[in-house]
Symmetry: C2
Subunit: 367 residues, 2 copies
């Protein structure tokens, strides 16, 4: 068991959100120190999915019970198809049945789906109750647990509904990663690359040394990287909580990535789509004379080394990706803001990317 | 056509909400002056119900089209049963189909149900888009259109889900009241009494002069009272947007009123339940020596004069009301905050009301 470390995040707003992020390896048993004060004297609704429940549910419930908290538990089906308006309704109905009140706390124990769903449910239950995030996947730990974005899908559109709602605490134990299949690690590694590219070139060097097939990686090896990514994201969010400016850089790779996800009917993992999107953004940066060609190539090498795709998937049409880009909720009246690179770790935001160049770049990425 | 007057409201928050309330009789045709700037260059989703659509839909759409706005329209079934999580989902799905984007505006044209539902949908669509409220019932005009509270029902609980979301403009034309049945006027009049009791004794004198059966009342007679109520509410909300203190006084009569609604399975109109609740609160105030007995009796006379109930409905059990009180979302860990009167127009908030006294008071109100 390593030490738990923690840092504070202050997100401007009214009321201002001040919360702590606790992070360590094998620190589950020490949850009381981290969130004891938040949970004390309050009823707790623990939301998780069936897979996480099987792997970690008993341990987490035992720790909570040891703190004098008797959580009411609900496990949803694992996977993206649970991240819906309909499932959110079921979660909220259960919260009523379990007599959660305005002072109750929702604890989300799981990956991105559980985090987004629990975040959304807690933000609208009785006009908003407290939330504690306990992310269990690499993707959730390095990225989605922090930032206050919540969201669910509608039958007519993915991620069309959501809120901004900050948690009261984020508790990250990288030991949870030990139960993940390698594809799921890969899925999160793609976001780790993103943090390297937008803020900290050193992260790339760490990733270049890694071999995801190496089982020993599961034992704490991610701790330092997870911590670095979270600190980068926390800084960005403290400066721009509602995505009016700088926070845009967190969308690096997500513009084309989102278009690829849509065109592939969401049958591609998020991390893979973002990897393709990061390659596109790097090549665009290089074509516009912003980024050295050698740096663009290094990015592709890092992604390839992690087993992530660097070419457009076979079943994806470039024209479909382009049309999805302009239907995205980040598009404003037919115009798109791009996050590009003017160096490794040096992002910039621009409206000035000609559509023909995007088309040409995507065509050039056909496998 | 009388003049349109307007006043500004500034609700603290980040971003701070600054919006205007425009109010007049027969001012629909002058919507451009009021909301032209808000709607300019943006796509508009007009939410209404079937009854309002039949009475006013064509006129409002014509005015909007005259402003160069081509609203996408959706009419829900009229009535409380539309104020649900499920209907909110359908509204959001339609907004996606109609290609609303982050800069779009949702215009709610209708009573409390349409206002609450439209407010909620706009607050979560793409994490929040703009809202314009055009309330058409007396209840919505004097009370629910202002304050930023949105909400829908779950199968397991009424009003359990919602958000705080301020509109960009509130456009009140009291001519809309001319199409309302007298029961619907009565429903709103109950809230007008409330504003008299918590802030402006003069309102009671106005109501004492009224005869709701008089058809001429439909022609502009409510304008002055609606304006006074809205200004009172705006002041309270500016000082306490999130109901952490003073805003509690707006719940005068709603504590017992809500319990009565629950016990009557929501088959009693909201205004009638609030009337019963205001009688209970007045009698409690008087029993605790805060309010002159003659004032408590005057309150009952005003309500009776408006055709509102002052006794516990026959099908409602006192014990059921009591137990509903403590299940209410305003109850915190089994304790209730009461809004009482220390005079007409002089509210106070207190935790100190003995349950036996409440029981005795409610028993004394059996018809």
């Amino acid at each position: 068991m390593t030490e738990a470390s923690s840092f504070g995040v202050t997100v401007p707003g009214r009321p201002e959100s001040c919360f702590r992020v606790t992070i360590g390896y094998g620190i589950k048993g020490r949850m009381a120190e981290a969130v004891g004060e938040v949970l004390e004297g309050r009823t707790v609704f623990l939301l998780t999915d069936h897979i996480v429940q099987r792997c970690w549910g008993e341990q987490v419930v035992a720790v909570l019970e040891g703190m004098g908290v008797k959580p009411r538990c609900m496990a949803i089906e694992a996977g993206e198809k649970s991240k819906t308006w309909a499932t959110a309704g079921l979660v909220l109905e259960r919260m009523v049945e379990e007599k959660m009140d305005r002072r109750s706390v929702l604890v989300s124990l799981g990956g991105g789906v559980v985090g987004d769903l629990g975040g959304f449910a807690s933000s609208v239950y009785m006009r908003g109750i407290s939330l504690v995030q306990i992310p269990t996947t690499l993707l959730a730990q390095v990225d989605s647990c922090l930032g206050g974005k919540t969201g669910v899908d509608l039958p007519t559109g993915k991620n069309m509904v959501g809120t901004f709602h900050q948690p009261e605490h984020i508790f990250v134990d990288t030991e949870f990663l030990s139960s993940l299949p390698v594809e799921e690690i890969r899925n999160g590694a793609s976001e780790v690359v993103k943090y390297g590219l937008i803020a900290d070139e050193g992260i790339l060097a760490e990733l270049e040394k890694m071999d995801l097939a190496d089982a020993s990686l599961r034992d704490g090896a991610w701790l330092d990287l997870v911590k670095r990514c979270l600190k980068i994201k926390a800084g960005v969010i403290e400066r721009d909580p509602l995505e009016s400016g700088e926070r845009m850089i967190l969308n690096f790779g997500h513009t084309v990535g989102h278009g690829v996800e849509v065109s592939a009917d969401y049958e591609l993992p998020h991390g893979a789509a973002v990897a393709v999107g990061m390659v596109a953004a790097s090549r665009l940066s290089s074509a516009l004379g912003l980024l050295e060609k050698s740096d663009a190539l290094r990015i592709e090498d890092v992604l390839r080394g992690l087993g992530l795709p660097v070419a457009m998937p076979g079943n994806v049409e470039v024209e479909e990706v382009l049309s999805a880009l302009f239907r995205d909720k980040k598009a404003l009246q037919g115009r798109l803001r791009w996050v590009l690179l003017k160096g490794l770790g040096r992002p910039m935001v621009t409206w000035e990317v000609p559509v023909p160049l995007v088309r040409e770049t995507l065509e050039g990425m056909r496998s």
